[in-house]
Amino acid sequence: MPSHLGIYASQISGHLASASSYESIATVNVGSGGTTSITFSSIPSTYAHLQIRGYSPSGAYTNMRFNGDTTASNYRYHYTVATGSGSLSSGSAASTAYLPVTGGWGTSSPLAMITDILDYASTTKYKTIRDFEGIDANGSGELYMSSDLWMSTSAISSIVLSRSGATFGQYSSFALYGIKG
């Protein structure tokens, strides 16, 4: 083998796929009355990455939990937010994983979010979640880039999004996609 073995990796996987690598796994559409949680369960481990694409006519802090792990100290959250003027504030919170857009914007101004988790099925890595989301209500609103950490080397097999003191309103829709690797 070349002397530079292990120095750099060069297109070694041979994954010359012929089918689409982007697949829909499951969707939750919220009906009348709303719901306080969105659950994706039995997530297959056969993809490399997950993407959640969400739309909700009402915004509120959304908590995110994986595999039923409710141990708060296993989570961490960081963010930056644009609020329509001035600088972008940045912050963090321990013991939580948020999808951060807050509520109070009215049911007509929909939240849009795209959340990406790379190597979600890894059994050697903690899980870093990247989120891009926002809501604009014609004179108010927020635009976030945020990240979360789930400190577990377990493969993600379930995801629960939940709101406290608020619901995901009717017509909310959250779709889970898998991206092959």
């Binding site: 530079h4 292990g6 120095i7 750099y8 990796a9 060069s10 297109q11 070694i12 996987s13 041979g14 994954h15 010359l16 796929a17 012929s18 089918a19 689409s20 690598s21 982007y22 490399a48 990455h49 961490r76 960081h78 963010y79 930056t80 600088s87 972008l88 504030s89 940045s90 912050g91 963090s92 321990a94 990406d116 988790i117 790379l118 190597d119 890894s122 050697t124 890595k125 903690y126 870093t128 979640i129 990247r130 891009f132 880039m145 945020s146 990240s147 979360d148 950490l149 400190m151 080397t153 991206i179 092959k180 690797g181």
Partner: protein
């Protein structure tokens, strides 16, 4: 239904790590490229930059990015020179153990004749107040079709230098087709 979003190649660092992920001989048959990578470096720091090189070139890069560190206000940085700061703050060895960054670039029209603009979005997590999210706009001022993309640990060497991406670091190259 046409296959639009297709894995071209992927790579995982084995024991001992690697100094770069080097995607070569990229076919020109797609429209856009998407590169996703989840890495951790052995640099003794909380954060370590990942550098991108196009076609092995070490000239004509310029970029702007927004970066937030978990406190205060986000700021914006710029660079120009011999590399792309595609993930300006990835995980270094002093970040929380087992945490790997979540990074992505999107390169439209990579085989066309325009200068190559590409967008980056990154998250580096750490169980502490300081961690980083960033959003970048990058430009390689060269009209050549892209046939090689390298993610490197070095600002001076395409194939990496003293630092390594640690075992379990991964990189994935996708093609998006508008055919």
């Amino acid at each position: 239904m046409a296959d639009t979003f297709t894995l071209i190649a992927s790579s995982t660092a084995g024991a001992g790590g690697v100094t770069a992920f080097d995607f070569t001989s990229i076919p020109s048959t797609y429209t856009d490229l998407v590169l996703k990578w989840s890495v951790r470096q052995d640099l003794s720091a909380v954060a370590a930059s990942d550098f991108i090189y196009i076609n092995g070139s070490q000239t004509s890069y310029i970029g702007r990015w927004i970066e937030a560190s978990g406190a205060g206000s986000a700021t914006s940085y710029g660079y120009s020179g011999n590399f792309t700061y595609a993930n300006p703050e990835g995980n270094g060895a002093n970040s929380t153990a087992n945490a790997f960054s979540n990074a992505e670039i999107y390169i439209p029209s990579y085989a066309g004749s325009y200068y190559k603009s590409f967008a980056s979005i990154n998250a580096m997590e750490n169980n502490a107040a300081t961690a980083y999210v960033s959003l970048g706009a990058n430009l390689w001022s060269n009209g050549s079709a892209i046939n090689r993309v390298t993610i490197s640990t070095s600002a001076t060497s395409v194939t990496g230098g003293a630092q390594k991406f640690l075992q379990y670091s991964t990189a994935y190259l996708y093609g998006v087709s508008n055919a």
